[in-house]
Amino acid sequence: MSLTVDIRRDLGGFDLHTTFDAPEGVTVLFGRSGSGKTSVVKSIAGLLTPQQGRIALDGRVLFDTAARIDVPVHKRRLGYVFQDSRLFPHLTVRDNLCYAARVSGRGSRDPKEVAALLGISHLLDRRTHALSGGEAQRVAIGRALLSEPDMLLMDEPLASLDGPRKAEILPYLETLRRETGLSILYVTHNMAEVARLATHIVLIDEGRVVRSGAPDEVLTDPDMVRMLGIRDAGAVLSATVAAHHPDGLSALSISAGQLLLPAVEAPVGAKLRVRILAQDVILARTRPEDLSALNILPVRVLAVRRGEGPGVVVQLQAGQDRLLARITRRSADRLDIVDGAECYAVMKSVAVSQTDIAVGLQTGL
Amino acid sequence: ADLTVFAAASLGDAMGELATVWEGETGQAVTLVLAGSSTLARQIDAGAPADVFVSANETWMDWLAERDRLQAESRVDIASNRLVLVAHDPGAASQTEVTAQTDILAALGPTGRLAIALPEAVPAGIYAKAALTDLGLWNALSTRLAPTDNVRAALALVALGEAPLGAVYATDALAEPRVVVAGVFSAQSHPPIRYPAAVVTDAADPAAAGDFVTWLSGNTAQEVLGRYGFLRAGPAQ
């Protein structure tokens, strides 16, 4: 499912004017607090009516001011996970999960299985008022999943979840997407959280799209570093599982060589995507020896962006792929990192943690 | 056939006993429907399933007659009543006639009111107004009244001592132990207080209804009515 959005709406002073495509896969809508993310998602779901514009899901037009089409909310078949969980207080957790099946007959997926995955099996008979913040949000995610939507709209769904729980749910979303072709529009201000899932990224600011494209373009664009925040800038590489070693490491081949990662749950030959944050990359002019870091790739400097601060962002060519590194200006000077310089990128294997691996699709890679 | 009798609520007790006696004599059950005369008259006009109407005043009986809702020839006055002045204070007991000299104002005291049924609308009030006007007392009293929606409410005000005096029917005064009769209005001071009865045009069994109405003016019925304080009706108008 691919989504086309082109909407305009004046929200008392705040002017929402957003145009983007969300191709099949996981589109991450990223922007600061108050940039208009929720307003966009509400418009797509039909909960906010744009003054003008068009929204279509593949061929299916959901909204079109020109054609006077405005499909009612319940016929849009979009699963919405709200920023606040909005569970039904009069129903048990189980009945919340089964709600969509009850009202629409949709939903062949097994609620128990989804509950198990989300770690809420023991809560099924509980009322919602006694749930903790994270528990409530997990139920809300389950409820939306079980409505078997054509597309899932998730508005900061994991903000109230702890790290291990996030790490469990994200790959499930990925599996879901892979197996059912479920496309996801994922709103977040925490790029690290989902960058590895993203097949497409839309950056929004003050109601307008400032950049949109494939993650490896957007995330490795040194100009986007300020927008994303330095901690979130980084590259996404295509990789193929080459081997699984007995000491718990997996070897992945990338265009520039090989990466060693903690065991990847994918068969040899599988295609993966690996995210490497700019700040996790160290540069060396000579190949370092005797380091605990296992991954050292020969790279060539493509561009060096100097900003206001003491750091510089270095764009690197690694085989067919691009990497970003953030180092201090002092180091750049000392090591003579200039355009065209050949050097080595050092990455700790563990910096690419289990959760940063997404089993990849052709799309967006 | 059984009879449905629409009777003014103020006749309730007496009519109840009359119904029992009639049932004993004829085996015909009587269903008594009690409400204000105006209410009953309107309902009969709207087609209520009444066989006999007993009104507490002639106005509403006339109104129905005009609309051909009654068998005119069956109409008969079955009882009459007297208007009396009642008082809360037992010391005021007196059977003397109320005259132009009776100082009702003084008896009311500085703030007391004379309880009375609505003088422009409810029969007991209309009679009382007529009597007081005839005696020349109305103008002085008209601002000192406590008009009520029915004569029983006026009686209750006196019974509770909320109003020191009231103008009510003699039958009411008789039945209420907390009031005493402080004076009787002369029959000449107001139009005669008559209780007319008649057969309703649409009566299911006009013959039986006619018999009942006739029976009401007979001796047995009159004896019962007398026990409740009603007087024999004067000559029918």
Binding site: V73, H74, R77, R102, R106 | A35, A48, A175, E176
Partner: protein, 232 residues
């Protein structure tokens, strides 16, 4: 007890219960509909509907009864049509008493339900819609369960009002024993005759007892529902 209250009075009590019960039950769907329309719909004539619903509250009951008599009496435009087409007669029947009670109680019922509906968070209804529930299903599966306390409140108010209704009832359907003589009419009959106060007070006590029973039941029910919804 049978010596304390005569068979006629027991008949009035039974009749009042029947009338109030049916008046409440049958007006509930209309009350819900009206309340929902007033709370959530935008339509022409919304204000007129609102006035109509409130009318019986403003008018003296006798006037309402009189208007009912004019409209629903055997000769009345609606009454005669009902009679001719469906064989339904309301005038001077207990069904008419139920109609009068229902109409008098209607504004109370509608207000209670309407307030409850207005208190439901529209965000929950939005969430239900995104899960595929049509407007009607949203109402049935989300709004309705959440307003149960309001419905109970509305129903018990209506029931209590119906138990106490007098003016419109006696004016519309008169005071026919066994058919339309409800407890308040019986009380009225008592109060119209000398010395009837004690009889009247006995009936008052019975209807108070019934009303308290209904109240206790409703409080119990709505407390249970509230607990289910918002926790103990």
């Amino acid at each position: 007890m049978t010596t304390w209250l005569g068979p006629e009075e027991w008949q009035a009590v039974a009749l009042s219960l029947k009338v109030s019960f049916w008046a409440t039950l049958l007006s509930l769907p209309f009350g819900l509909l009206c309340a929902h329309a007033l709370a959530r719909w935008r339509f022409l004539g919304r204000d007129v509907l609102n006035w109509l619903v409130h009318l019986p509250l403003v008018l003296p009951p006798v006037v309402t009864g009189y208007l009912l008599l004019l409209g629903f009496g055997r000769q009345g435009p609606i009454g005669s049509v009902l009679d001719d087409l469906f064989g339904i007669t309301l005038a001077f029947q207990w069904t008419g008493a139920a109609l009068a009670a229902a109409i008098m109680a209607f504004p109370l019922m509608v207000r209670a339900i309407r307030l409850a509906i207005e208190a439901v968070d529209p965000k929950l209804e939005e969430a239900a819609a995104t899960l595929g529930a049509s407007r009607i299903k949203v109402f049935v599966t989300v709004t309705l369960p959440l307003i149960v306390p309001g419905i109970i409140a509305g129903a018990v108010l209506a029931f209590a009002k119906a138990m106490g209704e007098f003016g419109a009832t006696i004016t519309f359907v008169s005071n026919i024993p066994g058919e339309t003589r409800t407890v308040p009419s019986a009380i009225y009959a008592f109060l119209q005759v000398p010395g009837g106060e004690t009889g009247a007070m006995r009936l008052v006590m019975v209807s108070v007892a019934i009303a308290i029973g209904a109240l206790i039941l409703s409080e119990f029910l709505s407390r249970r529902v509230a607990q289910r919804i918002s926790g103990s």
